[in-house]
């Protein structure tokens, strides 16, 4: 703690950079949106810090507006994600690559070259029951590993 960088500014810059990495590398639509929100966190933190340093409220007020915009963005992003999901039944961003040149390979095809999919061995996270569906005793709500693998290979 002997440098000259304001500690909150360091955190804000790091959050921004990490959010950028997340946005660039992750293929899950929701994680991309969350990464973008994290970048907004970094910006808001920096502005609050600047407001503190300059001794006025403008930084905080600006962050309030950023918060507003972030809320709007989250709502719209969720609607968009649902729309996209409706089309492909998947949250994979790589499925949406219609902008590419005609002779470029489809990025989705890359999965086959990546070798066998590494399956997360951790416990399955809680699954929400679809509302309004009658409970069918033959198909338990808790998915089994086999069905898990089936969907995992099927993208």
């Amino acid at each position: 703690m002997n440098g000259s960088i304001h500690p909150t500014l360091l955190v804000s810059a790091a959050l921004f950079a990490l959010g950028a990495i997340g946005f660039l590398t992750r293929r899950n639509l929701i994680l991309m949106i969350l990464s973008a929100e994290m970048m907004l966190h970094g910006v808001g933190l920096a502005m609050v810090t600047f407001g503190q340093i300059h001794n006025n409220n403008e930084g905080q007020i600006f962050t309030i507006f950023v918060l507003t915009v972030a809320a709007c963005e989250a709502g719209l992003a969720l609607a968009l994600i649902l729309s996209l999901y409706h089309r492909t039944k998947s949250l994979d961003m790589d499925l949406w690559s219609a902008l590419r040149e005609d002779d470029m390979p489809s990025p989705v095809g890359d999965d086959s070259t990546r070798g066998p999919v590494e399956i997360d061995k951790r416990p399955v996270p809680p699954i929400l029951t679809p509302a309004g569906l009658p409970l069918d005793p033959k198909t338990p709500l808790q998915p089994t590993r086999s069905s898990h693998e089936e969907t995992a290979t099927h993208v």
Binding site: L24, M93, D94, L99, R100, M104
Partner: protein, 710 residues
Amino acid sequence: MSDYAQLILWLIPGAPLIAAGFIALFGKLFMGERSHVPCVAALAVAFACSLALLVSIVPGTFHEHHPEGASFEGNDGQQYTQVDEEQVISPTKGAVALGYEWLDIGTMQVRIDLRADAISAIMLAMVTGVSLLVAIFASGYMHGDPGYARFFAAVSLFVFSMCMLVLSGNFVQLFMFWEAVGLCSYLLIGFWFKKPSAAAAKKAFVINRIGDFGLLSGVFLIWKTFGSVDFQTVLFNAEAIAKANVDHPGTLPLICLLLFIGAMGKSAQFPLHVWLPDAMEGPTPVSALIHAATMVTAGVYLVARSTPLFMYAPNVQLFVSAIGATTALISALIALTQYDLKRVMAYSTVSQLGFMFMALGAAAAGPKVATFAVMAAMFHLFTHAYFKALLFLASGSVMHSMGDVIDMRRFSGLRHALPVTHWTFLCGALALAGFPLMAGFWSKDDILVALGNGMQSEHKTFFTVIFAVAVLTALLTAFYTFRAYFMTFWGPEKFPEEALQPHGHGAHDDHGHGHAVSHDPHATPDHAHGEARPHDAPPAMAWPLRILAVCAVGIGFVGPLHLFGNYFERTPGLPDAAPHGLHLGPMLMSVVIALTGIALAYKFYVKSPEIPAGLAIKLRPLFGLSQGKFFFDEIFTAILVAPLRIIATLCALFDKFVLDGVVDSFGALPRFMSQAPRRLHGGLTPAYATTMLIAVLGCIVCVMQLFAGQ
């Protein structure tokens, strides 16, 4: 008076234009077989207005030989501009209906005005009258054609353009409608555009371009020399012309030459005459109206109209005469051996146009006889329009009855089967041959007199030759006209099989026509063989023929009675004419020539038909030359078309391999350069975001560099 003049002047071209638009818009859908009604009605209106114009434009001066107003005042141009506001009809100024200012480019001001004087009034009366009769004829002739409405729309448009051409008050407007009549001619020659021979329309259009180039250059030169294109300042201002002749020596002959080249194209003069015979591919009424009576005479009209300029270019006038004589002789020689009735008439038209130019050139004999020479040409134009339209329509009637067969070897002796056609054709043939007291007799006589006047000037030798050619051509004319007449209407009765088929009345005919036949008393005298015999013209075709026959016989009397001459001399810009009377010497010679030609034809084709065959064998090379139309088409193909085709092929190769290569390489360069960056376009959103982040990095570096200095 002013409103009246405005009204009739605007109605003359306006009525056909409205009819053309109306038929073009609604004809096909709503009018069908009644499409000719607006056209005929509009032409009747135009004809009535033309007659009204004719009698009102030079009121009360028919019987005065030297009215004061006929001489032209040099400063009339200024008077004209002063009285622009109120329209005045007077002998010298004619009638002017103001239109609007069309072009105003720098010093060039072009107005669309209607301007009528004596020569325009004569032309208008002739154009609208003949086109009215032709339109009535066509309503019968074109019956059942799928393009019925299109035909009448085009005819109406043509009459509008022709009237505007004649009514033009300046050279630019004249050129515009000169092109418009060419367009209508193109549309109507290619009327049956599915026939391969409709390519004649293209030929006519292309050859006319040569002439139009000359005319356009002439108009440019006129504008450069006079600073105006208005007739009032260019043609009717004698002082201005004299001044221009002094200021720009040699320009006036050049202008005249260029104008004459324009006239050569439109009026089918040697060597640009090759399009007119081929133009007969169009419907016969079109041939009668456009390619015999009206449009092709536009060149004669132009030269006659430009007489004040030609007065300063006697050499060009001699050239005009020479070209006219060459054309007349060559076409007459070609016409001798043709078997296609319409082609005989087409070459006859070319030949008669040559006559008119001969007469126009005779104006070189001097100012005293110049007006008479121009008058003779216009008079021949006037009479020729009637009898040649008659001959074409009668040929069309023959063709109609013979099931579209026009080869004279395949039918003969039709005078009993087609009595109306026979008598009217005979009237036209007599008029064309120059039989005494017929229309052609008087006008041809006037031309011979004009050429005789030329023989008494300093160009004695030249005009002697021209005169001899004219006499020879007149003889040939009488001969080939009656050759066609005798071959068609005399001899043993013979019909082609197309004519005998019950419904085979031509490609454009349908059974509705056969219905009309049964009501025609002239068509089938013997009803027992009604289906087996060709029928004569139905009333819609017969009555125009009869009226035109009366004209062909009687219209010539306006010449010897000095009606035409005295009227025509009111045309502004023409020099004072010497009084002229009947010339018994040339008249006698004309009679002898005509009778000789007719007698020869009678001898050859009725009395002893073996003579022509024997002559054809004896004079095989000459016969072949005439039969092959002097091989002008082949010569042109060899010396003009083939080299151009080679050049065009080379250009096409150059374009394909050199120009396209250069252009393609310009396209290939960015394509090559984009090979690397296009890999970035994988279509993945995060990839674009990466690029964006790199750019943000660059921006931050720049900002840091900026602030590092502080």
